[in-house]
Amino acid sequence: MVVQYLAFVIFSAFAIIGAAMVVWSRNLVHSALFLVMSLFGVAGLFILLSAPFLAAIQVLVYIGAIAILIIFAVMLTRSMTAIREPFNAQSWLGAVIGAVLFVALVAGMILPVWGWGSLPTLPQSDVVGTTRDIGIALVSADGYVLPFEVASLLLTAAMVGAIVIARED
């Protein structure tokens, strides 16, 4: 269990530090790489949450595709990778809002509702769905087959849209 805690701390640190560095890095390629790091941390959290399928998808989709895509975009707009001033004039306000949001979430929602002692343990039954269960849930009629089809339509539309937008002419 200590190992689990250790893993949690490491993955959380990956996720949070990575996220912070995404914002902080002046070099966008570094930002993108830190994003990969953060996403990797999140994938680790998924494994801790007994969702290995999501972890694998996280790595495959986010790191293998989205991050690559972002890096591609960064490099295609290369003259802009190192803008002299990475933050805009309202950044202090943004920081305040981010901080207020965080405090409000933690102090206003998370701790009062799910805080100390309220839900410390995993459910006793500890029944964790397998990948097979996800698959069945996704395509069964009383499950999520309609959202699933809609999602596939969304992807098709996004693909067509991206091609149309980014095409030269």
């Binding site: 190992v3 070099n27 390629v29 570094h30 790489l33 990969v36 290995p52 399928f53 694998a56 998808i57 790595v59 495959l60 790191i63 293998g64 595709a65 991050a67 690559i68 890096i71 591609f72 490099m75 397998t130 990948t131 097979r132």
Partner: protein, 390 residues
């Protein structure tokens, strides 16, 4: 704590195996290449030059560790590590024998694919951090190639998953007790082999290090052991692909005298069978590399998007359809519960028929297109020939 230490030990063993394997592989590769090219190959260090790769390794390690000026140092140094790591991580859930496996993940195949996609990341990092336009161009090409070929790779990978009804590697292997999947899905096996070859970036798909165009590709700024790591990563990747094909399509460690329950004999025999099968596919890969010329980038992309992807999609659809039909018709067997050869035969024949029909269909369609193109070209040529000259 003890279990944790055991786990660590397993991790160490599993991670080291492919890296150690890489050393003899280099020798094998050079020897085979030499024989194919009618040469002798390495023959000075040790008997038949067998110690040559170790000497090379020592030389690489002994070289000065250069980080060129103007590079992004962290990224530059991280790239080779990620490259090797992505390949090595794959081995975590590749079975060696009935009981020998790092960890039999429920999502084994997906894990392997997702980890493999990290390699793309490494190449991107290497290409960008070197601060060299050739490196970056090379990286672009490679990434385009790798991302594209990942599509047919994954689509053909889904066929064994579909047949076995599981994504776990051991499950897939176990399901092939009575019948290898290559008989049920030859088209998928072929596509998988081609895409895997492209994923490793070897000839005829070695666009990433097209010396004549890009000097050396994404790793141009690397030298010494960092270069060596990329190199080792590539070798291990080829080997990994061999192992994967062996597992996914030709029954992995299954062979005469192996039982799924394990036992010393089974494990040893299983390992031997696996090595034999892997070697065969590894050899085919080398053979191809040393005989085929490099394709152009447009041919590469056309081949993928206009040929492999449609066929693999069609293949997936046909296979799942036929599976459903065989289920409805009642002669489908649950392969995970040790189906015998005879039990699996009707289903196999149906699927094989489907595959053959697919192949014939593809030949017909492409043959028609080619013929039409040729007719058009001839007509054009004739028009030019008959055009009044100035």
């Amino acid at each position: 704590m003890a279990s944790f230490l055991t786990t660590l030990l397993v991790v160490a063993i599993v991670a080291t195996t492919p890296l150690v394997l890489a050393i003899p592989l280099i020798w094998i590769e050079r020897k085979v290449a030499a024989r194919i090219q009618d040469r002798l190959g390495p023959n000075r260090v040790g008997p038949w030059g067998i110690i040559q790769p170790i000497a090379d390794a020592i030389k690489l390690i002994g070289k000065e560790d250069i980080t060129p000026a103007g590079t992004d140092k962290v990224v530059y140094n991280l790239a080779p590590i990620v490259a090797v790591a992505s390949v090595v991580l794959m081995w975590a859930c590749i079975p060696f024998a009935p009981n020998l496996i790092g960890v039999d993940l429920e999502i084994g195949v997906l894990y392997i694919v997702s980890v493999a996609s990290l390699g793309t990341m490494a190449i991107m990092m290497a290409g960008w951090s070197g601060n060299n336009k050739y490196a970056l161009l090379g990286a672009f090409r490679v990434v385009a190639q790798l991302v594209s070929y990942e599509v047919p790779l994954v689509l053909s990978l889904l066929i064994p998953v579909l047949l076995a009804g599981s994504m776990g590697m051991q499950d897939i292997v176990t399901a092939q007790q009575g019948m290898w999947f290559i008989f049920m899905a030859p088209v998928a096996a072929l596509i998988f082999f081609i895409s895997a070859q492209a994923e490793t970036g070897r000839a005829p798909f070695d666009l990433l290090e097209a010396e004549s165009e890009l000097v050396a590709g994404f790793n141009i700024e690397y030298s010494g052991m960092k270069f060596g790591l990329f190199f080792a990563g590539e070798f291990v990747h080829v080997l990994t692909n061999g192992v994967l094909i062996a597992h996914l399509f030709v029954g992995g460690w299954w062979g005469l005298g192996v039982s799924a329950e394990g036992g010393i004999l089974s494990n040893v025999l299983g390992l031997i069978y696996l090595v034999i099968k892997t070697t065969i596919f590894y050899f085919i890969s080398l053979w191809l590399r040393n005989t085929l010329p490099r394709v152009r980038i447009d041919q590469l992309m056309n081949f993928n998007w206009k040929f492999l992807v449609p066929i693999s999609v069609a293949n997936l659809v046909i296979t799942s359809l036929l599976l459903k039909i065989s289920q409805v018709a009642g002669f489908a067997v649950d392969l995970t519960t040790n189906a015998s050869f005879t039990a699996a035969l009707p289903m196999t024949l149906l699927l094989l028929g489907g595959n053959i029909a697919l192949i014939l269909g593809v030949i017909a369609i492409y043959g028609f297109n080619i013929r039409r193109d040729r007719v058009q070209e001839e007509a054009q040529a004739e028009a030019i020939a008959h055009a009044p000259s100035h």
